[in-house]
């Protein structure tokens, strides 16, 4: 199953599983990152990490290592569907984002 880190800006997905344990998992669950919730990628930080997501109607930023714990499903590529809206520069951004994730 793909994780959040496999998505590109303005992709949408449904959370399937939140892995990991202890403080990280508890914090993610408390902030609404729970299975069944919709999540969208908003933007990547200038240095490639962390990445900003939209979940439960607010903006949350997660490091690559944290986003890896979140398994997702139903990738709706760049279609918009809520506040994030389609990016005008989608291709360019996606290219940059891939570079950011390619570690």
């Amino acid at each position: 199953m793909p994780s959040l880190t496999d998505l590109s800006p303005s992709d949408h997905a449904i959370i399937q599983e939140v892995r990991g344990h202890g403080a990280l998992r508890k914090r993610l669950l408390d902030m609404g990152v729970i299975p069944g919730a919709e999540i969208a990628v908003v933007r990547v930080a200038p240095l490639g990490d962390p990445v900003e997501y939209l979940v439960k109607g607010y903006h949350l930023s997660l490091r690559h290592s944290e986003a890896q714990q979140i398994l997702v499903h139903t990738v709706m590529a760049g279609a918009g569907g809520d506040g994030t809206a389609p990016e005008k520069t989608g291709r360019w951004r996606r290219w940059l984002a891939r570079r950011g994730h390619g570690r």
């Binding site: 508890k26 908003v42 933007r43 930080a45 990490d49 607010y58 903006h59 506040g83 940059l96």
Partner: protein, 721 residues
């Protein structure tokens, strides 16, 4: 600080970070607030008094939290405060623009069993988003009073306070966690009420089932409680097998399901979700891949320029008031009544010179705290963490660690206190040990005076270089500590909310600015005054001492001075001034004034013209305002209203310094001042946050580092000529 003042009802404010809790707190308490330690804990909570219709209540502002687990210090404080102080009312401040996640915390606070009311804050922003909330329905569904508020405009606050004071016993509804969990809770509750916590048995049962380490630790007290814990573990295991998920997830899922249902019923949104918000558009710019970092560094530079330049005219003005007008009046009055010379010397050379030298520094702090408050309240600080995290992570730190470090440039004390926003102790400690290397504003006057005296052409460069050196040493120390003291510890979570941008409320900014600056004035008035008088006394004892070198001060400093000979300033004057700097760094300069200039002939009493003096004071203030406005406008590209010819001429202190230091020893002195042991207030903050051993470690580490770096600087300066 007694949290509960007499019979006044105790009201706590709880809520998510960024929900506008502090804005409501500031609006309700006004100036009647202070930060103090929660008795028995080394944790500061803000408290104040609010009045409604003749009733006074004590209001406590709890740290912002998303939940009530024990995974972060803030959450633990908020939870323990409610459980241990049992407030009369808890006001949960919820952000109306993000009802679901805010209600998630509210239902947990209801589980703690305290009487609760809900403030639906930022209703104006919700309406602007096209969100309509059925307040009456929410009130019925939650079973507690709900008041719509706009904290920044003080709307609804009277009603909120009235609800909090007058409310009848609420009938809160509880989350239904499903048959299996509810059975387990029901089975555990009676024993929990008997053995662990009689007030919040439902909450405690949930936490035991989740396996919350802190609540589990409470069970170690008695064998019966241990049996209870084992029972809870077994139940959790059983439920986990039935659902194929662990209890932690089930509880979060049920709770979110419940608040999602609530929000769904009470919220109607008329606006198309496709619309991009202003926040999105600002973030497109400030978090842009190419522009994000330049914008961040640009903003930091702007804060810096504003702090240094916009305050400068006021610094000159305060100098005029204290050192010329007030000193003139004191001299005139004392001469008129034929007071003894030693009293005149004490007041003018000791008290006025010492405190005046510190007060001139107040405008710098006001501007700095104002800038930081704007960054914080607008929501930009979270973006700064977002943009900086990758770099800070190289040190094993959170992007948020950058914030205490930036605050440390103003004053190390709030910088160290700001580490509390970090979640694990390792991060707090690591950041806290780096903060003293951030060159605080109190060290700036020392740099400025020395740089102007010894490197007049490159003064700005020298000052800037010292700041950069501090940062570089902080980074190196951070890397060193991470590899040695904290080897093998895990990095902290990042997980950061990027809240919507808000226009900062002027009232909040001013409160913030005042509260921090006022602390400094108090310090100046008591601690530093005392230090100035002690130094003056040491300099003038034994009675009748003529040469300062023969005074108690000179003799004591002379004993230590040889230690600094390799650094080029092994004389008692420099050593003594450094010693007084432990009281507060800015005292170094006032001590030097006293030491180098204090033995001048007493000033000839000038005829005093009170009217002319007052006129000069008022006109001087007007000019300072004008000049400061010009500086701010001049920051705009292409505008230059400030005349650059008026570089301050050599003051008498500069001349004295030039006679006593060489450029190389001045450089070594500056490097030493940058690094050596932090001031008493900072040591106090280190001790209260991390314990006495870490404070002591910081003192030794920094002083040793300062000596080595000073030696290197001296040798390097000599070599470069």
């Amino acid at each position: 600080m007694a949290v509960r003042a007499g019979a006044q009802p105790l009201v706590v404010l709880a809520g998510n970070p960024n929900a506008g809790k502090s804005t409501i707190f500031n609006a309700l308490t006004g100036a009647r607030q202070h930060v103090g330690n929660w008795p028995g804990k080394t944790v500061a909570v803000s408290s104040g008094t609010a009045h409604w219709n003749g009733t006074s209540v004590t209001l406590v502002d709890l740290p912002g939290t998303y939940s009530l687990s024990a995974h972060s210090l803030e959450e633990t404080i908020a939870r323990d405060f409610i459980l241990e102080e049992h407030p009369d009312v808890a006001i949960v401040v919820a952000d109306a623009t993000n009802l679901e996640r805010n209600l998630y915390l509210a239902v947990q606070i209801l589980e703690l069993g305290a009487p609760t009311t809900l403030a639906l804050n930022m209703m104006d922003a919700a309406e602007a988003d096209g969100t309509i909330i059925d307040v009456d329905l929410l009130q019925r569904l939650l079973g507690i009073p709900v008041t719509p508020t706009v904290g920044s405009k003080r709307r609804g606050l009277e009603d909120l306070l009235q609800q909090a004071i007058e409310q009848a016993t609420p009938q809160p509804r509880t989350v239904d966690y499903g048959q299996e969990l509810e059975q387990a809770i029901a089975a555990l509750q009676p024993e929990i009420a008997r053995l662990i916590d009689p007030r919040a048995p439902r909450y405690t049962a949930l936490k035991l089932l989740e396996g919350d380490p802190r609540i589990e630790a409470l069970c170690d007290q008695s064998p019966a409680a241990v049996a209870l814990r084992d029972e809870a573990r077994a139940a959790a295991q059983r439920i986990g097998t039935i659902y194929g998920d662990d209890v932690e997830l089930l509880i979060a899922d049920r709770r979110y399901g419940y608040v999602h249902g609530l929000a769904h019923q009470v919220v109607t949104n008329s606006r198309s979700a496709q619309q991009r918000s202003i926040t999105d558009r600002i973030d497109d710019l400030v978090a842009h891949r190419a522009l994000g970092l330049p914008i961040f560094f640009g903003l930091m530079a702007l804060v810096f320029v504003l702090t240094a330049n916009a305050s400068a005219p006021f610094v000159t003005w305060i100098d005029l008031v204290v050192n010329q007008v007030l000193a003139g009046w004191v001299t005139a009055v004392l001469t008129a009544v034929s007071a003894p010379a030693w009293l005149l010397s004490l007041l003018v050379d000791g008290v006025l010179a010492g405190v005046g030298g510190v007060m001139v520094f107040l405008p710098v702090l006001l501007v700095l705290y104002f800038c930081l408050a704007v960054l914080e309240d607008s929501g930009y600080m979270a973006r700064a963490a977002f943009v900086m995290d990758r770099l800070m992570h190289l040190l094993g730190l959170h992007g948020k660690s950058f914030i205490p470090l930036v605050v440390g440039f103003g004053c190390n004390v709030p910088g160290i206190l700001a580490t509390r926003t970090l979640e694990n102790r390792r991060d707090r400690l690591l950041t806290g040990l780096m903060v003293p290397l951030m060159s605080c504003a109190a060290r700036l006057p020392i740099y400025v005076i020395f740089a102007a005296a010894f490197f007049p052409g490159n003064a700005a460069l020298v000052v800037f270089g010292l700041y950069v050196l501090g940062i570089a040493l902080a980074v190196l120390s951070g890397l060193l500590f991470r590899r040695t003291l904290f080897a093998g510890t895990a990095d902290s979570l990042f997980v950061l909310e990027l809240p919507p941008y808000r226009m900062p409320a002027l009232h909040g900014l001013v409160t913030h600015m005042w509260r921090h600056s006022e602390e400094f004035v108090r310090k100046a008035a008591t601690l530093i005054l005392l230090a100035s008088i002690v130094v003056w006394a040491l300099l003038n004892l034994p009675v009748g001492v003529d040469d300062t070198a023969d005074s108690l001060f000179g003799r004591a400093a002379g004993v230590v001075a040889p230690l600094f000979a390799p650094l080029g300033f092994g004389n008692w004057e420099a050593t003594g001034s450094l010693a007084t700097g432990l009281v507060a760094k800015e005292v170094v300069i006032s001590s030097m004034s006293v030491i180098y200039l204090g033995d001048n002939e007493a000033p000839e009493p000038q005829p005093v013209d009170v009217a002319a003096d007052l006129r000069a004071v008022v006109v001087g203030f007007g000019e300072a305002v004008l000049e400061s406005v010009k500086v701010v406008i001049s920051i705009l590209p292409g505008v230059d209203l400030v005349s650059h010819d008026g570089a301050a001429g050599d003051t008498s202190l500069s001349i004295a310094l030039q006679q006593n230091f060489s450029p190389a020893s001045a450089a070594a002195f500056l490097v030493f001042v940058l690094i050596y042991a932090p001031c008493i207030a900072t040591v106090g903050a280190l001790k209260s946050e991390y314990g006495g051993r870490w404070a002591a470690f910081s003192i030794f580490y920094l002083t040793a580092l300062a000596w080595i770096a000073g030696l290197v600087a001296y040798r390097l300066a000599l070599w470069l000529g």
